[in-house]
């Protein structure tokens, strides 16, 4: 087992364990913190694939910005066990069944897909470096890129309008 494999297994176990902890933690703040650990493990996987830009953007955007807002809301709402509403037993069951169905669909969809034959390039992949990624984004994929930026802009305007209610 070489260093890459050791790192891969370590990161995979970390990602799965922290993802499980997100779901099973009683305290919502702990859940958010475990989710941050998950994002770090995924960023580690990106670095193993030499996708440095993606890795760091994952940390900046998800761990650094979105999760901070999550923490904000949860900390200010002060969710304690006493204030948490009692969940219906049937609701839990329904949630479990729905989640299981999603898992089934995902497994069925990915079982025979092409992705299985493609092996990740860990040795010579440099498509994830910022220069190649930027060239690709602003030449081949420029239209989807611009459209998604307009989508973000409209979402921002919408947020301002909602927040500015008289």
């Amino acid at each position: 087992m070489n260093v890459t494999q050791i790192l891969f297994w370590f990161l995979s176990v970390l990602a799965l364990f922290s993802a499980l902890m997100v779901v099973t933690s009683k305290n919502p703040v702990h859940s958010v913190l475990w989710l941050i650990v998950t994002f770090f493990a995924i960023s580690g996987h990106y670095i193993l694939l030499n996708a440095q830009f993606l890795a760091i953007v994952n940390v900046i955007v998800y761990a650094g910005a979105i999760m901070v807002l999550f923490l904000f809301v949860i900390m200010l709402m002060n969710l304690n066990k006493s204030t948490e509403p009692k969940k219906n037993k049937w609701l839990t069951l329904a949630g479990g069944v729905a989640g299981g169905c999603l898992l089934l669909v995902l497994v069925a969809a990915l079982k025979n897909s092409e992705i299985k034959q493609q092996v990740a390039q860990v040795k010579e992949g440099d498509i994830g470096l910022i220069k190649n990624l930027g060239n690709e984004l602003f030449s081949t994929y420029v239209v989807p890129f611009e459209i998604s930026s307009i989508l973000f802009l409209s979402a921002m305007v919408g947020a301002v309008v909602i927040g500015k209610k008289e």
Partner: protein
């Protein structure tokens, strides 16, 4: 895997470099506390600490010793693990940034080029951003885990201030990246050392004065320094997010602030003041040992960083604290539009020059 081709020399080289830089940060932070008190004393026409050793230079040791021997209190109502993790995170994120900074020109040891930088990664600036954006967690976790309303409010204040000023900081940097065309820290310094305009005119501060100003203000806010130290406004929030902390855990929070100050001084010197570039001279024509050149460059970088640290202290003891709405107005309604304007003007000029 080609990312991980390492020999024993490489490991030792990096290990020594890491230990050296972490020690340096700690030492500088230690004496920054002394410097802060001396500067404050000077500005208020006092003498400042002068009892421990000549000119009071052992004062930081005495302070550290005091913090170590104080009783360590973990409040019963706090969530214990997070209470301990908070100061650890604050310290770690403060130290992490130093990894991508080029501290000097490359050294030559036994016919090998040893870069004076821990990791020269492709995405240096983004890495700094990532670490800065994680700096919020030390404050938030510490403030929340204390289970105290004042701490929580201070933590929320601090965090919202930091994420607000990160935006303007990023926009100011985009203009700089347009000039260099690279996110690698060593490239950015090279660009300034071997600039077309020669001497210190090719430093980015000359071409990006507005960007520098915005970055500087944001750095003040990111370090939670006066006039933006609303997270520890003692007349409104008792003491701030570290109110429940005692002993060395409190010491870590206070210490992390000084490390942040030093590191942000180094980052500003690297990005805008030419890094280890020696002004007014062409050091390549000296024909001296490259190792000595590296040492001189390192000292020059430190001098620039210390200048920034001094300015931070100067501002702290001169300017009163902002009110919270003023802080948010400055960040969102003044700095971000200014940074956007700066970005657009820079983009137009860069395109026009390249035509």
């Amino acid at each position: 895997m080609h990312l991980l081709i390492i020999d024993s020399f490489y490991i030792w080289e990096k290990l020594i470099l890491v230990v050296f830089i972490v020690t340096l940060c700690m030492l500088v932070a230690m004496y920054a506390t002394y410097g802060e008190r001396k500067v404050a004393a000077f500005l208020q026409d006092r003498i400042g600490p002068n009892r421990a050793g000549p000119f009071g230079i052992f004062q930081p040791l005495a302070d550290g010793g005091k913090l170590f021997f104080k009783e360590e209190i973990i409040p019963l109502a706090s969530s214990r693990t997070l209470f301990v993790i908070g100061p650890m995170l604050a310290m770690t994120t403060a130290l992490l940034t130093s990894a991508v900074i080029p501290w000097g020109p490359a050294l030559h040891i036994k016919n090998r080029n040893v870069p004076f930088q821990i990791a020269d990664i492709n995405i240096g600036i983004l890495y700094i951003f990532g670490v800065v954006s994680l700096g919020v967690y030390g404050i938030m976790i510490g403030g929340w885990a204390s289970n105290n309303k004042f701490s929580l409010l201070a933590a929320i204040r601090g965090a919202s201030q930091m994420i607000s000023y990160e935006l303007a900081m990023g926009l100011a940097l985009i203009a700089l990246l347009m000039l260099t065309g690279s996110l690698q820290m060593s490239d950015i310094v090279d660009h300034q050392v071997h600039g077309r305009w020669g001497g210190f005119l090719s430093w980015h501060i000359v071409r990006q004065p507005l960007g520098f100003l915005i970055f500087f203000i944001c750095a003040l806010a990111e370090c939670n320094r006066t006039p933006f130290d609303l997270a520890e406004a003692e007349n409104e929030l008792n003491f701030g997010y570290h109110q429940e902390y005692s002993s060395m855990k409190l010491g870590f929070y206070l210490f992390a602030e000084y490390i942040n100050m030093f590191i942000s001084g180094v980052v500003m010197s690297t990005l805008f003041l030419g890094g280890y570039d020696i002004p007014f001279v062409n050091e390549a024509s000296w024909h001296i040992d490259p190792n000595w050149l590296a040492v001189i460059g390192f000292c020059v970088l430190l001098a620039k960083a210390f200048f920034f640290v001094f300015v931070f202290m100067w501002i702290r003891w001169t300017v009163p604290r902002f009110r919270y709405d003023q802080l948010m107005n400055l960040g969102w309604k003044k700095l971000i539009p200014l940074a956007l304007l700066n970005m657009i003007v820079t983009a137009v000029v860069v395109l026009w020059m390249r035509k």
